[in-house]
Subunit: 502 residues, 2 copies
């Protein structure tokens, strides 16, 4: 980083990563805290990112045979209690509805009235209520599989909140499926993980590691939880989404049973899988720099902004009409399945301020058009992946033909950077001493550690207490080798990913 | 109606309209009641209708400069209280969150714990919380207008619920805007009403009457409420959506103020407008018949179903491959901005049962393909708008070229039927006696009454008590003439629509 230049975001990543994150969000106008404790307001630039993620995933879900539906916001307390581990996992953080109206109280102010016979929980996740519906819909093997998804809001009461990463209310999709066999349910669990990781790689340009959670980190009530984890620029892991194989646990709790081909009554095998607005947090923390947000073109609300440079009022009309033509031209280009979204910034503001506002909002390409360049038939094109002041001159009649490949190049650059950063920060660790030293406060370059593991939750507990480090996943595509757990010296058949995490 | 033939839905509309409605929804598998009091489950066929409505409106909102955002589910009680009429309107029907966790109680069961200092209301609508945010965002006239929309769930506790029409939780969009002048806000209110009515006419094929609500029927806190009302097949009115001019009421309550061009501090002028899953109820009740749901092609989840007729097992492969080709051919056709959605029904089931299942689901076109017709190069095409057994033979090589115009014709037929039905049931009523006789129990053909009106809420109150009839709207495009209110004999400058309603 050039220390001479003042960065657009204060503090920088190096100075204070957590605060930098908040400032990037503020400068890009993505979201803000609301006066309602723990709840955020997602602003248009942030919400459009979510719409793009939603559109991408929704299409993949439908292509793999899933259908959207909508289930109730409220879950009766007794439903939540049907699965013992499940209710234990969520009891400490749920919003409880106890009354259904307001009336004037003794002090003249409004107070809750109409107490409910049974409290309702604002859904923290919907396995229990959806399971109840499945149990009514499934009678025979012919009714299986049931493959459903819902786009919804959920609430998990959080004391310490952070925009996108941890909020009391968040938006997500939750898929819920029921199958006749264990094999089919397992296959579904893996298929959905693959859809997620493909989205992370190709839409968000985030390199991720996929694997299985350790027992300690599993979803409450699941038999196994698959996850994909990204490495943020501070080396911490971010769980970006999960896919759960629920075995017959929830089918038994909700009585989802069916008559098999052979005429036997059997419990179904179920799965659930979800991804949330947290993905936007991952996106921000993976790509952004000290000048603000950086957006991969495929998920960016807009791809290009055109900024007119007008020094003399009499040139205004000519430059603006040139810009409008350019905008129309570019909008006819198709990129990654949708028409280019091109903005023309006509605000009454200094051109330099405009340019910086777009740098901070992370738009992939900025095109500046001044009278001089216009006369020469060239414009200045700035890629957000390069220094904010490094432009390339481009002939106007070449832009249209080249813009899609420039965007593709930006998308690839971001993915390659994420991949290079992550893989360069995965250390093979073989001893306890190395481990403690790697995760010491002093080691600024620490990221993930790939370490042998022998499934002892007590060791995980201790490492979390000592270092705030946990098993992020048992990876599918690395660490497959025999060895010994450095903490217990017991045999291990697989290295796992340890890291600090969000 | 042919009384000889047994209808697919029991009871018929004539026998019991309310029960017929429930049975149409059940037979089409659109939605069902959940075990959570007042909350429905929207099933895939119903949810896809909502997705089509959403896509249509979302595009129109964006074309008119609105942006999507997302605001908190919870509203602090004190916020709701900021506008006196507003809180009075919603206090009797709101879900109140009072605790944020569960713990084991004295009897060993889980009980609410962690009482909140201030109760939170699950949003029944979001004027107060969005107003609070607007007040932070708006400083100067340059920040105006603010044009926002959110797609969300809301809760209004209802004791008597009815699928789609009246449920405790429902899905909707709510637009909220702030403007520098009264004129601009009024213009916005009308613009959004026009977008809604255009959607009702062209997407849902429902003829609607637009107008303004009487003071008594206004949204709590609004200066004026615009509405569009459809007439259902039992002659009752259904309010399909509303657009509110809020004046400066909410701007004052939430302190949305700005510095004008002239340097004065002024309150903004705000609007809000919403349409809900109730639109699906309107769609069902307008078009469906005694054989079940009837869907206008533009809003139907799928346009065409192909049903193979296989009498002999050895013909199966040949017929199926023919059907698959036909499906592919038709899917390349574009209708109303999207590719045709074509289903091929391969279920193991009698062809007759399949056919009836699609009649009940309201699919616009059913194509039956048997070996004999196949050899002749023709298929049987059934339009849902005609008798379930009336088919037209069509040459295979002509289907592709004609399918879009057949769908267009179905869409128009449904709209024309809705318009003819509605306009034929609007009676000009001039005396009190005529009015009471028109709305008497005996008059099966009663619909809307167009009656002079003199803004007396007491008269409205009495007519509601006597006949359960209310002012549905002061229409914009009918009844503009001088006369006398038949109940008060006072002068009136405009006839209004009186009707029973949902």
């Amino acid at each position: 980083m050039n220390k001479q230049r003042k960065t657009a975001i204060t503090p920088t990543r190096e100075e204070n990563y957590a605060e930098w994150y908040q400032q990037v969000i503020k400068a890009a106008d993505l979201a803000e805290h609301s006066p309602v404790r723990g709840c955020m307001v997602i602003k248009p630039w942030g919400y459009e990112i979510w719409e793009n993620i939603r559109r991408h995933l929704d299409k993949k879900f439908k292509q793999t045979g899933h259908q959207n539906a909508y289930f109730p916001l409220f879950i009766p307390l007794s439903y939540l209690e049907k699965e013992a581990q499940h209710v234990e996992g969520f009891a400490k953080e749920c919003a409880v509805v106890t009354h259904h109206r307001l009336e004037v109280g003794p002090k003249g102010n409004l107070v809750p009235a109409g107490e409910l016979e049974e409290p309702l929980i604002v859904r923290p996740t919907s396995e229990t209520i959806i399971g109840e519906m499945f149990s009514k819909w499934v009678e025979s093997y012919r009714d299986l599989p049931v493959l459903m998804n819902q786009w919804a809001n959920v609430v998990r009461w959080e004391m310490r909140t952070r925009l996108f990463l941890r909020t009391a209310e968040f938006l997500w999709q939750e898929g819920h499926t029921a199958h006749a066999t264990k094999e089919e349910a397992l296959e579904e669990t893996h298929q959905m993980l693959d859809i997620y990781t493909d989205m992370a790689n190709h839409l968000l340009a985030v390199y991720v590691i996929k694997g299985e959670k350790s027992e300690r980190e599993r979803f409450p009530g699941a038999v196994s939880t698959l996850t994909f984890e990204g490495m943020m620029q501070d080396g911490k892991a971010l769980q970006m989404g999960t896919s759960h194989f629920l075995g017959q646990n929830f089918a038994k709790a909700s009585n989802i049973s069916f008559t098999s081909k052979e005429g036997q009554r059997e419990f179904a095998w179920t799965t659930s899988w979800g991804a949330t607005t947290r993905l936007i947090g991952a996106l921000i923390m993976t790509h952004s720099d000290d000048d603000g947000l950086v957006l991969p073109p495929k998920v960016a609300p807009s791809h290009v902004v055109i900024v007119p440079i007008i020094h003399k009022e009499e040139m205004k009309e000519k430059v603006e009409s040139f810009c409008k033509n350019l905008k129309e031209e570019l909008e006819s280009v198709c990129f990654a399945g949708r028409s280019l979204e091109v903005l023309f910034d006509q605000r009454e503001m200094r051109a330099g301020d405009k340019a910086w506002s777009w740098v901070k909002k992370g738009i992939p390409i900025r095109i500046e058009v001044g009278p001089k360049e216009m006369d020469e038939g060239v414009v200045s094109l700035y890629k957000r992946t390069e220094d904010a002041k490094a432009s390339m001159k481009m002939k106007v009649d070449e832009i249209k033909g080249n813009i899609a490949s420039i965007l593709e190049e930006i998308q690839n650059t971001l993915y390659e950077r994420s991949k290079a950063f992550t893989t360069s920060r995965i250390a093979l660790i073989n001893t306890k001493e190395e481990f403690y030293s790697y995760f010491s406060e002093k080691n600024k370059d620490c990221g993930f550690a790939l370490v042998h593991y022998n499934k002892d939750a007590n060791i995980e507990e201790k490492l979390q207490q000592d270092l705030n480090v946990t098993v992020r996943c048992i990876p599918f595509e690395m660490g497959q080798e025999e060895g010994f757990c450095p903490f217990s010296n017991l045999p291990s058949s697989q290295r796992v990913i340890y890291a600090r995490s969000y």
